[in-house]
Symmetry: C2
């Protein structure tokens, strides 16, 4: 249930930017178990205990609201899956993939709906999604500057694109139907697939 009094109290103490951030935090947490279509301005207003009018004040149209929400969800994903320092290249990739798998499982409904909206006709969401994928995959080359796992060649970049599609499909399918594959095995399979794919181009 929402807590109108507490939320109204908080509102008076926060700057508009802080309030917007707080509302996006709430929106992203609601998105974990809801699709983008299910997360309406009405629902967020109710959960935040503020009026729809005030939400429109912070986010403009419903479209702007969804865009801000997707941008925020994607930023979170990119940030959370940053390769950790102090491992070898394959270890860093393994750690990133593990966080990605856990992120998709924890945010399944929202993540699946963002992927679907981006792959369909929504151009703004597609741009955000493509940007996130580029950030996630470019990072592989930055994190692996010596090319221990993947050399930075045009062919390897093509393979990384295919690998990202493979990883996304595997995790989204596995989250619904694990097919006897453990989380650890899934992470090892996805991570191991990248150098194998690059090897095949040689």
């Amino acid at each position: 249930m929402s807590q109108p009094t507490a939320a109204r109290g908080a509102r008076t103490r926060l700057s508009p930017d802080q309030r917007r951030t707080q509302l996006l935090d709430l929106g992203v947490s609601l998105l974990a178990t809801r699709s983008l279509d299910e997360l309406t301005i009405d629902l967020l207003a109710e959960e935040a205990g503020i009026s729809r009018g005030l939400l429109y004040h912070y986010f403009g149209t419903k479209h702007d609201f969804h865009e801000a929400l997707v941008r925020r969800a994607i930023d979170d994903l990119v940030q959370q899956t940053a390769p950790p320092a102090g491992e070898d290249s394959l270890g860093r990739l393994l750690a990133s993939v593990a966080v990605y798998v856990d992120y998709v499982v924890a945010n399944y409904e929202g993540y699946a709906s963002i992927v679907k909206a981006a792959q369909g006709g929504n151009e703004t969401l597609r741009r955000l999604y493509d940007g996130a994928r580029a950030a996630l995959t470019d990072r592989i080359f930055t994190a692996d500057a010596q090319g221990e796992v993947v050399p930075d060649t045009p062919a390897a970049r093509l393979m990384v694109r295919g690998w990202a599609a493979l990883a996304e499909e595997l995790v989204l399918t596995w989250a619904r139907e694990p097919a006897g594959v453990s989380r650890e095995k899934l992470i090892r399979v996805i991570t191991g697939a990248l150098p194998e794919l690059v090897d095949l181009t040689r």
Copy 2:
């Protein structure tokens, strides 16, 4: 340019079913270089040299027309990529993948737009697309009944789903930007990736 006289002459000799088939043939050939959105009832009517009214008679609504067209394009893809007889399992997979690559290149605009429409919100197209993917991937297990390339296990079926996403992304990306990868190498990479992925689950 269209040839109204010839088309009208043909129309009188054909049954409604034959005429519908002929119009779908024409639609599918136009779809090679056009997206689904660009292939309108108006365009098909002009190219076939018949009235819009008559086209609506054959296909109902614009939605029904697109559905019939996608069904037909997908049937063509499934049929053309049928594994040839008289090869070993890997040879049959290689031959199927080669036809798939050539099909996507030859029908790039239409194919890319069908994938996009199906991945987005269009439920009918999504069902047709999922059906085609299931037919294409289930066939791997039928064509390889001894499990020479892929044993029929739940984990292998999960990998085949991921592999299909990999193959689609690689071919659609490569068709726009080959990255120095030859057609032959692309076909070998996609084919070789499947047993590698299945091996990783062991």
